[in-house]
Amino acid sequence: MKNRFSVKFGGRSGQGINTLGEFLSKALKNSGYVTFAYREYPSIIKGGFASYQIDVSSEPIFASSKYTDFLLCMTDESFDKYVNTVTKGGVVIHSIKDLKINEEDEKYIKKNKIKVIYLDAIDIAQKNDAPVIMANIVILGAFWKSINLELKVLDKIVLDYFSKKKGVDLEAEKRCLKAGYELDTIKDLKGRNLPKKKRKNWNSSLILTGNDGIALGAVVAGCRAYYAYPMTPATSILLKLGNTYMDTGIIVKQAESEITAVQMVLGSMYMGTRAFTATSGGGYDLMTESLSFSGMSEIPLVIVLSQRAGASTGVPTWTGASDLDIAVHAGHGDFPRCVMSVSDATDAYELIQDAFNIAEEYQISVTLLTEKQISESLFNIKTLPQPKKIKRGLVKNGQKRYEITSNGISPRWIPQKGKKTYLSNSDEHDEYGISTEDEKEIVEMSEKRRRKMDTLKKKLPQPKYYGDEKPTLVFVGMGSTKNVVLDAMPLTKKRLGYLHYQYIYPLKFEKILELNKQGVKIVLIENNQEGGFGKLIKEEADFYIPNTLRKYDGRPFFVDDILEYIKK
């Protein structure tokens, strides 16, 4: 692909693929290249096939190409899985003894003139007095030489990392890296080269996952408690906030269930601090009664819903975006709420701050959607934006906690000694929170709550438009689909546009109708089977978009998917 280069590390779970992927991303970044790293791994601890693909460019990139220029491979399973994704003239470096290549793969390799190089990496590691596991470092060194970058850049990253681990022989790591780098078989290897242009001062840029962005944004926004139950792909938010809790002072609690987690958030938010939880679809299902309770009691609530592929347990470590429908509709009864969606690490960092502001100002639940593709991929960005202003919508003290107001928002004050007490009630209630079954009061109070949606909708920003000023084709989407369409734009002469939704519900649909009026071809792009976003647009705008590009095989959209689609 023009101006892009990609390398993939393949092996099995337990071989350190993750660590290698991070090393490579950082080392390439420190060498002056922009990277995007995408991770595939099975829902098992040891075995299966796992990979890390790092795309490299001189310009910002946020998505992966389907094909890879270099495949570094450590198991035959991952060889079989990934060899047919190597580009024409590409290179495979592997360490698989007695590798048997099937007929089909053999044909593909020949046809595409792919060089397959075997390194006895285990033997090299052992000859360098290093344990077998360090064979992966030998391969890393060999690859680094084959793209002709300075060893010391990589060396520093590897040593920095392992010097923090106990019981690792740093000198052995060093020897293995060097041995790989100095291999004769690599010296004359001609593969695809890296992009010519490097970026200046890029080594100070950041590499963050979407979940890092959420965790960091929560800290910035003054969130003081995080309660969660582990569930992929939301779990690494717990990791980030837990590993940094001595610095931040945030209470980080691994709760006994998702229901506990969300109830603890509600308790803490009721008291007037900021707290949140994160989960994936199954956990969110368990939280839905609490969503409804937040709606009725007007206790602010922030939930991150990190989506993965499939119904039920599905394919837990793979990506998808099928949960918009539950975010918008789950929970019994009528109640207001807000749904937003992040697309990358920067977006995640900013939108979690918005989520707290909106939850508190409007006294509603905010569900912040993300996807495995965003939560766990490594985004390489120059820096994070300035913190957003904290808006809480609090009053010092009051009388009627649920006062009927024209914009629907009632005064909320923090429970504290000396302040007017109140009841926050899951029963329908009057302006003081006292339970009621009076028909007039029921209508007045539920209409008051409904008015918050109208007030919020007016305040929410319009979707962001990217791309050609006079487009012939505009994709409409949310989440990670933005990244892949934006990455495809410089690779095509077609006049492409992308209308990006961060604030999903209440839905602002005017721009879609405008585009339609202009006669632009609109295509809904969704990483799911049923087209939940299209359904929401139909429901809210009474506008049906017939053209759709959908993918639901657990993989994200690759840049090639977009290029192939627009060729048609």
């Binding site: 209470i251 009630n425 339970s435």
Partner: protein
């Protein structure tokens, strides 16, 4: 300012049945808080759903009437946010032992500094008398003329099996003792489980005042776990009082390494923070 029991009254008319144990439980609760010199605005109540939850608008204080079975985790979240408030969760035997039993178990092992009042009236009363795990075996209940098929849960045995820091048992017919138990529970720094044997004249006529009076035996505060276990497993007697107290077990918050030495509560800490130190991993 002097605190009076009437400070805890609201203008909402009680909707409990005549003779319901909740009247006395509320009275004891109010008395205990007054004697502890706590004003309503220093107390947070987390009410469950059921007859006890219908007390949510009948006592003053900062109150949440939440979801069935979830009074404990909401109370914990409130407590962690601001320890200056006394947090009391109130739940029935149905909500506590059925819908939300996991919360009870984990709260005991976590030892959060809150007080739990389990209103044990041996049935789901607000939904008109269904079986719970404390319902008398063989007793005809809603939809089950032959009584329950399942076995029982002995709250005391369950709680004591988890090495709690505080377990007490009171009786809604003894306001004086119940007041004292609640006072001790609120003062105790840790998770105070207070089981209240509660009269339910509508759906549990068998467990009436005579029944309890014939069986209750009051004990002094006890800190011997073996003795405590023998109290609660006694088939003939119902021991009341502070069955077990162990003040040596630290409460959850006190054990949080990253909160040591912090003078503020989470509610005072909402502001923009720098992430400079935590950007890199």
């Amino acid at each position: 300012m002097k605190i009076d029991i009437t400070d805890y009254n609201t203008n909402v008319t009680p909707t409990w049945c005549p003779g319901c144990g909740n009247f006395n439980i509320h009275l004891a609760l109010k008395k205990a808080l007054v004697e502890l010199k706590k004003s309503p605005s220093e107390v947070v109540f987390s009410f469950d759903i059921g007859c006890n939850g219908n007390g949510g608008d009948k006592i003053d204080g900062f109150r949440v009437k939440g979801l069935h079975g979830r009074a404990i985790p909401l109370a914990v979240g409130a407590h962690l946010a601001n320890r200056k408030m006394s947090v009391i969760a109130s739940i029935g035997d149905g909500g506590c032992l059925h819908e939300g039993i996991d919360h009870l178990i984990h709260a005991v092992r976590s030892n959060y500094d809150i007080t739990l009042l389990i209103h044990n009236n041996q049935n789901f009363a607000l939904t008109t008398g269904q079986i719970t795990s404390t319902t008398i075996e063989g007793k005809e209940m809603y939809a089950f003329p032959k009584g329950k098929t399942e076995g029982n849960i002995n709250i005391g045995e369950l709680v004591l099996s988890l090495e709690p820091s505080f377990y007490a048992r009171g009786y809604s017919g003894d306001i004086v003792q119940l007041t004292e138990i609640i006072k001790q529970g609120v003062k105790h720094k840790g998770f105070s489980v207070i089981e209240i044997m509660q009269l339910c004249p509508t759906y549990n006529k068998e467990s009436n005042h005579e029944f309890f009076n014939g069986r209750i035996s009051k004990i002094e505060k006890n800190s011997d776990i073996k003795k405590a276990r023998s109290y609660v497993s006694n088939k003939n007697k119902l021991y009341t009082g502070i069955i077990y107290c162990n003040s040596k077990i630290k409460d959850y918050y006190s054990k949080l390494e990253n909160r040591k030495g912090k003078k503020t509560e989470l509610v005072n800490e909402v502001r923009n923070y720098s992430i400079k130190n935590i950007l890199a991993d």
